[in-house]
């Protein structure tokens, strides 16, 4: 059994894990860089260890320091959060070798699903629709051109090891591809250490819909419904909601079953997300994330399941606490990411928070690790809070979200609050008529 959890992360997710541990009666260990001495996760954890200087590479990505911190504090489990080392199979392996329970999937499953070209192959074998494209990697420009002509432009070049929009190139014609092939490869090489790319048909106006899945060590895998994550800027999600206005109960079942089939193929354990692109009534497998996600609270609000506590349960070898039988989402939930950034240019904005007031009232939840006088460090992610709003239906959720954002006061740094608020008045958003191009076409 797990009794003391080390959280190998910072910010709101580190705090989120601490809250779950407290509810379960588990001790917690925070690790932090020199820049995070006054962070809330450090203050709220039972113990804390400074693991290095401010740059992540020397602290939150420093595997040996984190393992050493677990050893000196006697922690018996590690929760990786999201980002940093969360999807690093090597880290999960070392934790296992050091008799530490890694709260997440097995290194093998992580490795299989972490390689996008391999994951695509596995999805195809499991009978899940995938976008037309290359069989595995493409090595040469000529090969990429043959495939692109066969499936028809536009196509997208993607890095096999990629994520977060890097190493991607959209090509509308032969000429585009000629220029993009080498750039995509070198960008992938620089960002991920591997130049491997593959080609896929590019959908013009898709929605991004993902399925939350959960597996336990007894071999049970469940789907916990979808999250609509179509509102993105620069391939980074801004607003997420569940249920999706585009998904019927029937479609939900189909997508859920497809996601479960894929997870069964890799005997997946713990929380994971299968991302799909959706257009004209058809869904296509895109990739899998082998971790808890930023937007997990949306699912928590419509299922009533605490996903982080469930992660810890499952990692201890206990069965999922999710009831058997027919599954339905209840009510509606939306999450608004509050980033410390310019709402127009999206440039990150570090600095001191001079005023901080979070909204409350029915159906409002705020996950954050900042406070008044907190200094946002330029070293880390710009996400400073997540506003999660729940209502009995989408209409009520929108109205409630507007008033919650209006009462969310952050002074001293620029934030994405005005943008989130403006989107809530957009007619297409209100109708639920959206695609991943939404932000490109959005006008204030």
């Amino acid at each position: 059994m797990i009794s003391k959890v080390l959280i190998a992360n910072r910010g709101e997710i580190a705090l989120r894990v601490i809250l779950a541990c407290k509810e379960m009666g588990l001790k917690t260990v925070a690790v932090h860089s020199e820049a995070d001495r006054d962070a809330l996760h450090v203050r709220y954890a039972d113990e804390d260890v400074c693991i290095g200087p401010a740059p992540s590479r020397q602290s939150y990505l420093n595997i040996s320091s984190i393992i050493a911190a677990a050893e000196i504090t006697g922690a018996d489990a590690i929760h990786p959060g999201y980002g940093f080392l969360a999807e690093n199979p090597h880290f999960a392996e070392i934790a296992g070798e050091c008799q530490l329970t890694f709260i997440g999937p097995s290194p093998e499953a992580m490795r299989l699903m972490g390689d996008k070209a391999k994951a695509r192959e596995m999805a195809k074998n499991a009978g899940i629709p995938i976008l037309p494209g290359s069989e595995g990697l493409v090595k040469t420009h000529a090969e990429a051109l043959d495939i692109s002509r066969a499936i028809g432009f536009p196509v997208i070049l993607k890095a096999a090891a990629g994520g977060g929009g890097r190493g991607m190139r959209i090509c509308g014609s032969d000429a585009d591809l000629a220029g993009a092939f080498d750039t995509a490869r070198s960008e992938a090489e620089r960002a991920f250490g591997s130049a491997d790319v593959y080609v896929e048909k590019y959908l013009e106006r898709p929605r991004h819909i993902e399925i939350q899945i959960f597996g336990d060590t007894q071999g049970r895998i469940v789907s916990l419904g979808e999250r609509e994550c179509t509102i993105q800027r620069r391939h980074q999600k801004l607003i997420e909601e569940s249920p999706s206005p585009a998904v019927s109960q029937d479609l939900r079942k189909q997508m859920g079953e497809a996601a479960i089939r894929l997870c069964e193929a890799v005997r997946y354990v713990n929380a994971g997300t299968i991302e799909f692109l959706f257009q004209d009534g058809e869904f296509y497998f895109m990739e899998m994330n082998t971790r808890i996600q930023v937007e997990h609270p949306v699912t928590e609000e419509v299922t009533g399941i605490d996903l982080v506590k469930e992660q810890i349960r499952v990692a201890s070898g206990l069965p999922l606490s999710v009831p058997h039988g027919d599954f339905r989402l209840r009510g509606h939930a939306m999450e608004f990411r509050i980033n410390a950034e310019d709402p127009v240019t999206f440039a990150p904005h570090a600095g001191r928070i001079r005023e901080f007031h979070v909204p409350g009232g029915p159906g409002v939840r705020v996950d954050t690790a900042v406070y008044r006088d907190y200094v946002i460090s330029p070293h880390y992610d710009s996400l400073i809070a997540k506003l999660v709003v729940r209502g009995k239906n989408r209409e009520e959720t929108i109205v409630r979200s507007r008033r919650a954002l209006d009462l969310f006061i952050i002074e001293g740094v620029k934030t994405s609050i005005p943008l989130d608020r403006a989107i809530l008045d957009d007619q297409r958003f209100i109708r639920g008529d959206i695609s991943t191009r939404f932000m490109e076409e959005f006008e204030w």
Partner: protein, 157 residues
């Protein structure tokens, strides 16, 4: 507590930059509030920098606690060279439990001399002196866990 003692306390408070001191003794309660000290200075320094800076700044609040925490030590450490832990781990003064410690207080060390071991993930990391001088202080106890940046030795050069 007489008037003279109170004056002395006030002097100490301002001298050391203590923010606030509260003493209760034999029915007398005394509270001295110091002037804005070091931490505030750091704050205003940050405030003067351009807003959109992407420079790597130490969090001022962190500077504040650091200053408060090490205030007392700082005094006695002044003029000494401090060697800190470069990694997280367990501090050992000797290569194994039967051996003599690498160094003891009063030893003269040269740059490159092994001072201790910090064990992390079953790896024995030998920590060397980065300076010539005399060991005047050893901060952690043998076998004690140390975090990154924690003080290990003070060396008089």
């Amino acid at each position: 507590m007489n008037f003279k003692e109170i004056l002395e306390l006030i002097d100490k408070v301002s001298e050391r930059g203590i923010a606030e001191l509260e003493i209760e003794q034999a029915g007398t309660k005394l509270r001295i509030q110091g002037k804005p000290s070091q931490p505030q200075v750091i704050h205003s320094y940050v405030g003067e920098l351009p807003r959109d800076t992407t420079l790597s700044l130490p969090a001022p609040a962190s500077g504040a606690t650091l200053a408060a925490k090490t205030e007392e030590e700082e005094e006695s450490d002044s003029g000494l060279h401090i060697i800190t832990a470069p990694i997280v781990g367990t501090f050992y003064r000797a290569p194994n439990p039967e051996s003599e410690p690498f160094v003891t207080i009063g030893d003269h060390v040269n740059k490159g001399k092994v001072l201790c071991i910090v064990e992390a993930m079953k790896l024995m990391n030998e920590i060397e002196s980065d300076i010539d001088g005399e060991i005047v202080k050893i901060y952690p106890q043998n076998g004690q866990p140390v975090e990154y940046g924690e003080k290990l030795f003070a060396v008089r050069t």
